[in-house]
């Protein structure tokens, strides 16, 4: 039994690292494929994602319809492909806006400190004190259902994690000697922040951003599934699952394939995020190798 507690050396760890990098490669490949599907959607399928064809409703998967057709006779594969556009674009939007808000607030708090810092940290803690999806539900309840409102709500809620990370980074960077030196030269705060503090936050923030893309897709689809996100007939993975739910008994393919696409996409983003973390944060890797 004793050997089981033995510290593993690098050569023993190597397979795990290879596996990680292999998974990163798989993740990247999947994203390339998804991007291809999203961009060339109209050329990849002969069917229309919205047009109703009641003569062909609830057909099981076949050569003409590899993912079958839904209750309104629309080709599920076509809708799944078109939904790639909506889900990925919306999640990029969500992450982008959250990042801009979060980094601004975080650096403001970390760089200036004092009362501003206290107030902003209090705000972050309050936001963190509640489950994100509940806040999103209230926001969407107030704004009304719809893809735009859901995207807006999730963008407004995702900033806290970026704010925390960039605040911590700003705090630690501003104490560094090179910042003192730059300050001594007499540059403006704005220049200092945009040219010396922000670049140092890119590596940790980008890992977080990629991991959040998967999270954003899951939240977006969850709200779509609850009937609050994209409204029919718009093809969105979560909403498709919701529409297909009542036909589960007669046509499992209507809701199972969109869910599979969500999983593949989220998995791809998570793979890339994990790989990025290993490459960009050598401290973590070092600790694991010790």
């Amino acid at each position: 039994m004793a050997h089981r507690f033995k510290q593993s050396n690098l050569s023993e760890k190597l397979p795990l690292h290879l596996l990680k990098y292999k998974s990163t490669a798989i993740g990247l490949m999947l994203i390339v494929v998804l991007a291809f599907l999203a961009i060339f959607a109209p050329y990849l399928t002969p069917y229309d994602p919205i047009e109703v064809d009641l003569y062909n409703n609830i057909q099981s998967p076949s050569w003409e319809h590899p993912f079958g057709t839904d209750n309104l006779g629309r080709d599920v594969l076509t809708r799944v492909i078109y939904a790639t556009r909506i889900d990925i674009l919306a999640s990029i939007f969500i992450v982008g806006i959250s990042m801009i808000i979060g980094i601004s607030i975080g650096i403001l708090a970390g760089y200036y400190g004092g009362v501003i810092d206290k107030v902003l940290v209090g705000m972050m803690d309050t936001f963190l004190a509640l489950p994100e999806i509940i806040l999103a539900l209230v926001l969407v309840g107030a704004l009304g259902p719809g893809l735009f409102n859901v995207t807006l709500a999730l963008s407004m809620l995702g900033w806290v994690k970026y704010a925390r990370v960039s605040r911590g980074l700003a705090l630690s960077i501003k104490e560094k000697e090179f910042i003192e030196a730059i300050k001594a030269v007499g540059v403006s705060d704005f220049y200092l922040v945009t040219h010396h503090i922000m670049p140092n936050t890119i590596a940790p923030i980008s890992t977080l951003a990629v991991l959040s893309l998967g999270h954003a897709i899951l939240s977006l689809a969850a709200l779509g599934f609850l009937g609050l996100g994209a409204q029919p007939p718009m093809p969105e993975w979560g909403a498709m699952l919701n529409e297909g739910r009542i036909f589960l008994r007669v046509g499992w393919w209507i809701s199972i394939f969109p869910g599979l696409m969500i999983m593949i996409t989220v998995l791809a983003f998570n793979f890339i995020g994990d790989g990025l973390r290993d490459v960009l944060d050598p401290r973590l890797k070092l600790r694991e190798r010790q």
């Binding site: 039994m1 004793a2 089981r4 507690f5 510290q7 593993s8 023993e12 760890k13 397979p15 795990l16 596996l19 998974s23 803690d125 309050t126 004190a129 509640l130 489950p131 994100e132 999806i133 509940i134 539900l137 209230v138 926001l139 969407v140 309840g141 107030a142 704004l143 009304g144 998967g214 899951l218 689809a221 969850a222 599934f225 609850l226 009937g227 609050l228 979560g238 699952l241 739910r245 589960l248 008994r249 499992w252 809701s255 199972i256 869910g259 599979l260 969500i262 999983m263 989220v266 998995l267 998570n270 793979f271 010790q290």
Partner: protein, 316 residues
């Protein structure tokens, strides 16, 4: 210690108040004539009823709808503190009563999911760490990654498809005996389980590297004794943190799981109220969820003290 508990309680109370105020503010943005809605649904019970001007004025008077936002909030708050959370626009019944009727179902589901996830995740995480880089380790880590990326609403449908529709072993949906509980519990805890396995593993690995483990080994203690007495006790502290944090995920998850399985809990109530724009009910549900969430987070924070005396609360 007492000071810390007091401080922590104050934070929890503040969070609940902040949430209730924020929700109140957001819900006031909902368009529509509240007075007409109240008369139609609460008093008359007929949505096509056309109230007279006098009736509208009377309703505005009673519910103080003409007052500024903050006064309406204070009014709501003082009522809420006396146990009156208002009346549902839809059913015309008291909000608090309906929430209390629904609460046990949600608590039952949340507790079942937590227990199942811990029962599976902690042993699996410990085995993965102790046998690092073994087949067990690789497969449990791969499974965890897989489950973290899986949408729970999809998992729920797949489980219904297999166990209810195909094999006809378990009920499709509804509330009742233990057979009704199985599928919702698995759906709810899958993601939580995956996170907990990963965390337990890394936490145990971290502790295994520490000097006192080497000392314990040098003393000639058996592996089992080291594992139980020295490793697990210390490795469980971050795991408890995550279990606390996961409660948020769990409460969010119940909204979805309860919708899939027609589980009559507070999550489904919230979704139904949002769809029906039943403002007092939404407000009540959110406040209740905030209370549960803050309470559990507070208990988790306080429980550290007993687990890890090294933590100094003055610094927190």
């Amino acid at each position: 210690m007492l000071e810390y508990i007091a401080k922590r309680t104050a934070i929890a109370v503040f969070v609940v108040f902040a949430t209730s105020a924020l929700t109140f503010l957001l819900l006031s943005l909902i368009p529509g004539d509240t007075a007409v809605m109240i008369i139609q649904r609460v008093f008359v019970g007929d949505v096509t009823y056309n109230p007279s001007k006098m009736e509208i004025e009377a309703a505005e008077q009673i519910f103080q709808l003409g007052n500024p936002m903050w006064m309406q909030y204070i009014h709501w708050l003082s009522n809420a503190l006396h146990g009156d959370f208002g009346t549902s626009y839809i059913s015309g019944r008291g909000v608090l009563g309906e929430i209390l009727v629904r609460l046990p179902a949600t608590v039952e589901l949340a507790i079942a999911a937590t227990i199942l996830s811990l029962l599976v995740a902690i042993p699996l995480g410990v085995i993965s760490a102790v046998r690092q880089n073994s087949k067990v380790d690789y497969s449990s880590m791969a499974l965890a990654t897989f489950f973290i990326s899986m949408p729970n609403f999809w998992l729920g449908l797949v489980l219904i498809l297999i166990f209810s529709l195909h094999f006809d072993l378990l009920p499709v949906a509804g509330y009742g005996g233990i057979d009704h509980l199985i599928l919702p519990t698995i759906t709810l805890c899958a993601g939580m389980m995956a996170v907990t396995v990963r965390l337990t593993r890394s936490s145990v690995l971290e502790v295994l590297r520490l000097d006192y483990i080497t000392t314990a080994k040098a003393k000639g203690l058996g592996d089992g004794r080291i594992l139980y007495r020295h490793v697990l006790k210390n490795a469980m502290i971050p795991v408890i943190t995550i279990v606390g944090l996961q409660l948020g995920y769990l409460l969010g998850g119940t909204v979805i799981v309860e919708t899939i399985f027609a589980w009559p809990g507070i999550g489904k109530l919230l979704i139904d109220s949002i769809n029906a724009r039943d403002i007092p009910m939404i407000q009540g549900c959110v406040v209740f969820i905030a209370i549960i969430f803050s309470l559990v987070n507070m208990l988790v924070d306080i429980s550290y003290y007993f687990l890890d005396p090294r933590i100094k609360y003055e610094e927190v």
